[in-house]
């Protein structure tokens, strides 16, 4: 509080800030997705309980804590339920500066529609925070807001600041923790401008194409994937760069799967890259470049950062009007962000703000529901943890050892065991010899004897009779499980299901959609893990074939034509050949026209490119032949590299013998 007060008073000292508009927020209480079906058929997603409070409480509490004064809750599906909840909750009647105002709409089908509705209402007057109602965060927006405001002052086209966070996937599965789509971002390290954004929802698209202009225009560039780092481009070497980058892109290196480990352990298989780096700072000729050019050598810095999008945006009012102007924008990221980045005419820019120690994540599938619940229980979201009563209306919780949260009136049998990282709500009874481990159990549940509950989420008023076994299941309000029911991992039971008799319910993951395991609440099945470890094993063992085996999650695979470019046979198909020549021509052209400083080094570079298998012998020779027929002025480089070519020809003759 003191902090906030300090902030307020300091801002009121600033004469410009005197006429400030209150910080507003738009909270989308509808995800416009169907990931939580069938539960969301009965209750809106934002009202689903997350550990001990509805998701929307987490988001509203966060908005309140960052100093938002006016929050507009946009409700669409089940809007009456959301409104009823808000009316009953403390948010509406809370004294102080934080006001919550529901906005209702019945015909919006996307975030784009929602923002258009809000624009038409004309309630947003200044910068606003755009979040969805399923965001859990404890970050402070102060710095991000400050940055956003300063950028806006300098450049009115900077309309949006996205919050991103550092995150690492599991080393084994290369799978994001939250089970959501992977995102590839290119960020300018100096200005933090977002240059490229691609969420890889399209699984078939295995490699990305980057705009050459984009690369050429920005001196240094970090590409972040939430899985792997792909490339970064050093500054001054435009020439090599343009040549190589086109090569790189066409080779698919930019989309080449390269995790942290394999990059360090074995660079040689990404030999393009390696070459590039070597050219840059190891090999002799290029060593001289800085001296030659009189330019500063900017060292290559490798960033192995893995970023995730927190889906928290600070937007300027223009964003709303942009949505209105482009009535086909639906999805915030897929359409809006990409649209802005592609659109050169208006020149709007999007910036990023990286958070480090604080927490921010969004629940958009069952896996992230599971992960974020566990993060909350492990207190990463402090102070929004069950025993702090942050939301005011929740019952009091007591935190025991090993992260066991227990309401004061839990009726637990002496022989029942509650193991680490569990949450037991008010009025729940637990029978003899039952075992509960890392699960969340809501209020007024009744659990019989010999029940085993593992990694499951059980909401309120659930009755579980004796000898049931639940693992990694989600059980909604009012479900009745009769004696002996077994729930396999990944089961979702919606409201008021009554399962009678001894029965087995098989996981929905089986026979379901291929990608289901990524989003399920169940841990990754053992077979899948075996698969991963096997592929990881082959990865280490047979490093020359790893290109095929590495992309475990089916992401970022090489384009088929360039799979295994280490392999000589595949490599020299005609398309490759032509492109190599093209690269060579381009390279030559640049040497002669744009960057003449490189001219003396042409043959050295050529040699290097050959040694590193970037350019094939045939390509070089055919280039030489082609050049042989040209006029004198074009032969400079041919002449320069004559010794090399000669050696090349002799070598090939030797081989033929």
């Amino acid at each position: 509080m003191a902090q906030k007060k300090g902030h307020r008073s300091s801002s009121s000292d600033d004469p410009e800030e005197l006429a400030r508009v209150p910080l507003q927020a738009v909270l989308l209480a509808d995800s416009f997705a169907t990931k939580f079906r069938p539960i969301t058929l009965e209750r809106p997603k934002v009202l689903l309980p997350l550990v001990n409070a509805p998701m929307i409480d987490y988001t509203l509490a966060w908005l309140e804590s960052v100093g938002v004064e006016e929050a507009f809750v946009f409700c669409c599906a089940h809007s009456q339920q959301v409104k009823d909840y808000l009316n009953k909750s403390q948010w509406m009647k809370q004294p102080g500066t934080f006001t919550v105002q529901p906005i209702e709409s019945h015909d919006s089908i996307s975030a784009g529609d929602a923002l258009r509705v809000i624009y038409n209402l004309g309630v947003i007057h200044g910068d606003f925070v755009l979040v969805s109602g399923d965001t859990v965060s404890n970050m402070s927006l102060k710095v991000a807001l400050q940055e956003h405001k300063e950028r806006r002052k300098k450049d009115p086209l900077a309309v949006m600041t996205m919050v991103i966070k550092h995150s690492k996937p599991s080393s084994l599965t290369h799978q994001t923790r939250l089970g959501n789509d992977e995102i590839l971002m290119a960020i300018d390290p100096d200005t933090k401008e977002l240059l490229y954004y691609e969420d890889k929802t399209d699984q078939s698209q295995r490699f990305i194409t980057l705009d050459k202009m984009l690369l050429a225009s920005t001196p240094t560039l970090h590409l972040h994937n939430d899985k792997q780092v792909v490339i970064l481009i050093p500054t001054f070497v435009n020439i090599i760069f343009a040549a190589l980058s086109s090569l790189l892109i066409y080779k698919g290196v930019l989309s080449c799967p390269m995790s942290h480990e394999c990059w360090i352990s074995d660079c040689s298989r990404h030999n393009l890259f390696y070459t590039f780096l070597e050219l840059y700072d190891l090999e002799l000729p290029l060593y001289k470049f800085p001296i030659l050019m009189g330019k500063r050598l900017i060292p290559v810095v490798l960033f192995f950062e893995i970023l995730k999008d927190c889906y928290i945006d600070i937007c300027s009012p223009e964003v709303l009007s942009l949505f209105t102007d482009n009535f086909d924008y639906q999805h915030l990221r897929r359409h809006f962000v990409k649209g802005l980045l592609v659109d050169d005419l208006m020149g709007y820019k999007i910036f990023t703000h990286e958070i480090h120690s604080s927490y921010a994540a969004r629940i958009d599938n069952f896996r992230s529901y599971d992960t974020i619940s566990k993060d909350i229980i492990q207190r990463w979201t402090y102070p929004m943890v069950p025993d702090v009563q942050y939301f005011g209306n929740c019952s009091q919780m007591k935190l025991d050892r090993l992260g066991i949260y227990k309401a004061p009136d839990v009726d637990q049998s002496r022989t029942a065991q509650i193991r680490a990282f569990s949450f037991i709500g008010n009025g729940t009874t637990i029978g003899d010899h039952s075992v509960i481990s890392y699960s969340v159990i809501g209020q007024s549940c009744s659990i019989g004897c010999n029940v085993s509950i593992q990694g499951s989420y059980i909401w309120d008023n659930v009755i579980i009779e004796d000898n049931c076994k639940l693992s990694h299941a989600l059980v909604c309000d009012g479900v009745y499980l009769r004696a002996g029911v077994v729930l396999e991992p990944g089961v979702i039971l919606s409201f008021k299901v009554d399962i009678s008799g001894v029965g087995y319910i098989w996981s929905t993951t089986e026979g379901g959609h291929e990608e289901e395991w990524r989003h399920s609440i169940a841990p990754i099945p053992a077979e899948k893990l075996m698969e991963f470890s096997l592929s990881a094993h082959t990865d280490l063992g047979l490093s020359n074939q790893d290109v095929n085996s590495l992309p475990a999650s089916g992401e970022l695979q090489l384009d088929s034509e360039s799979t295994g470019f280490d392999d000589g046979e595949d490599y020299k198909d005609s398309a490759d050949f032509e492109k190599e020549i093209e690269v060579l021509l381009k390279f030559e052209e640049m040497c002669s026209e744009t960057t003449k400083e490189f001219a003396p080094l042409f043959s050295a570079i050529l040699n290097h490119l050959y040694e590193k298998d970037i350019l094939s012998e045939d390509a070089i020779l055919s280039w030489a032949e082609e050049r042989g027929g040209a006029d004198e002025s074009d032969k400079i480089f041919l002449k320069q590299s004559e010794p090399f070519l000669k050696w090349l020809r002799e070598a090939s003759e030797d081989e033929d013998d």
Partner: protein
């Protein structure tokens, strides 16, 4: 009244959200809030102290429940309750005397008349205080019969005696409230000035060329050291940085700003340095009734190191940190687990916490406790605003500040209701009894760690019989 309720709700919410943290701030806010609660409390015709106590308890219960870790809140609630009881006692004395006067005027007994005024009200109150008898419920209830015995709706009392009595009552009621508010103001002032009071004693404890070790940052410690410096003592300070919040760095900066020779060390280097140290001075979160200390994490280790090398271990704390509860009390929540991201960056370790790949159970746990418990035998001296005390003397100090009836705020409320129903036969409304039952169930539940159903009227009757 509604605005007080709003104030209370606001404060409860702030406590719940941990927007007010630290014993000093929360103690001050609590005292101010209770002052406004009391000043807005409408005084009933009789049993005014009881009404005030009920009001304070009702608020206090909410405040304590809002943040169990912040023991200072509970301390202040209990202090205020004690103040009310004490003021009531003194005003009862005045009242008895007043009654004595009026009674004396009726029956012209000269001897009695001479006797009573000799025992002046102030002297009586002083006597009550000096005996240090905690004003128990019994004494509290003593004044009820006399007021109950004279049920006097002002309309009915036509005679002059009744009028004079009611006027006297009014005066008393205003006086009680006034006195209580006055006393709370004093309490607030005490809280405000506790740092100065403590640091006045600095020169007696810090000697020339000594080496002092402290851990983390405590405002009291800072002012204590600065006060010694201002008196031209030259000494050196080792500051253990106090991971994971590293408040020691802040303290080091402040001390250097005051011109004190300061060395920052890691927490783990304390044992290595302790042999060169003459005295350890630390702050605390709370001092328990047995003389044990709840202090920022790491201090127990310092205390053990100090004991090993026979270095005096001194705890400085304002008297608002003095908690009448024992650490084994079920109401006392010893620890608070803070955000694990203080320890490590979440992003760096997020791959270790992938719940998908280890059968759903996280293999990495990060725990960030806020407090340590230092047992009383490790503490050499407490320096509070009333002077230096031995740990074994703490219970005595506590008896000065708190009355035994208030130790468990909820329970004593129930007992008072029970006593009122049982012994005095005053009709209380059913709703009150209902809440009493619930409270009783809760408090019993706390003790047995098992929920007990709200006692039926039979059990209630049973308890009353006891």
């Amino acid at each position: 009244m509604p605005d007080v309720q709003a104030l209370v709700n606001d404060f409860v919410l702030k406590l719940k959200r941990r927007k007010i943290e630290g014993s000093h701030a929360s103690a001050r806010h609590t005292a101010e809030l209770l002052r406004s609660v009391i000043s807005h409390q409408r005084m009933p015709y009789m049993n005014q102290a009881g009404a005030l106590i009920d009001a304070v308890k009702a608020v206090g219960e909410q405040l304590i429940a809002a943040n169990h870790v912040e023991l200072a809140v509970g301390n202040i609630v209990r202090r205020v309750l004690h103040i009310i009881r004490e003021e009531d006692l003194s005003s009862t004395a005045t009242g008895i005397e007043g009654l004595g006067i009026s009674a004396g005027s009726d029956d012209d007994d000269e001897g009695q008349r001479e006797d009573r005024p000799a025992l002046s009200a102030a002297a009586l109150a002083a006597a009550a205080r000096s005996t240090l008898r905690a004003p128990s419920l019994q004494t509290l209830l003593e004044d009820i019969p006399d007021s109950a015995a004279a049920p006097q709706p002002p309309s009915s009392g036509g005679d002059s005696e009744g009028k004079s009595k009611s006027a006297d009552k009014n005066l008393r009621s205003r006086k009680l409230k006034h006195d209580v508010i006055e006393a709370i103001n004093e309490l607030i002032q005490d809280i405000d000035t506790c740092h100065e009071q403590i640091s006045e004693q600095a020169v007696e404890h810090i000697h020339q060329n000594e080496v002092i070790l402290t851990l983390g940052r405590s405002r009291t410690v800072k002012e204590f050291l600065c006060a010694a410096k201002e008196k031209n003592r030259s000494f050196r300070v080792f500051v253990a940085e106090g991971a994971p919040r590293y408040q020691g760095h802040v303290l080091a900066k402040e001390l250097v700003g005051k011109g004190i020779q300061t060395t920052v060390i890691t927490d783990s280097a304390v044992f290595a340095m302790i042999s060169r140290v003459n005295m350890v001075i630390v702050g605390s979160h709370a001092i328990m009734a047995n003389g044990g200390v709840i202090a920022p994490v790491g201090i127990n280790m310092v205390a053990l190191a100090a004991q090993r090398h026979a270095v005096p271990f001194v705890v400085v704390a304002g008297s608002h940190k003095l908690c009448p509860l024992y650490p084994h009390n079920p109401e006392v929540l010893l620890n608070d687990l803070k955000n694990p991201s203080d320890l490590m960056d979440f992003g760096e370790f997020s791959d270790c916490m992938d719940f998908g790949s280890h059968g759903g159970s996280p293999l990495l746990h990060v725990v960030n406790p806020a407090f340590d418990y230092v047992p009383p035998k490790l503490v050499s001296l407490f320096i509070t605003d009333t002077g230096g005390h031995n740990p074994s003397y703490m219970y005595r100090l506590i008896a000065d500040y708190y009355s035994a009836d208030d130790l468990v705020v909820k329970r004593s409320y129930l007992l008072s209701v029970l006593l009122m129903t049982g012994t005095l036969g005053i009709r209380i409304n059913l709703k009150k009894l209902r809440t009493a039952e619930e409270n009783f169930a809760n408090s019993i539940g706390c003790w047995c760690n098992k929920p007990v159903e709200a006692p039926s009227s039979k059990t209630l009757a049973f308890i009353v019989q006891i």
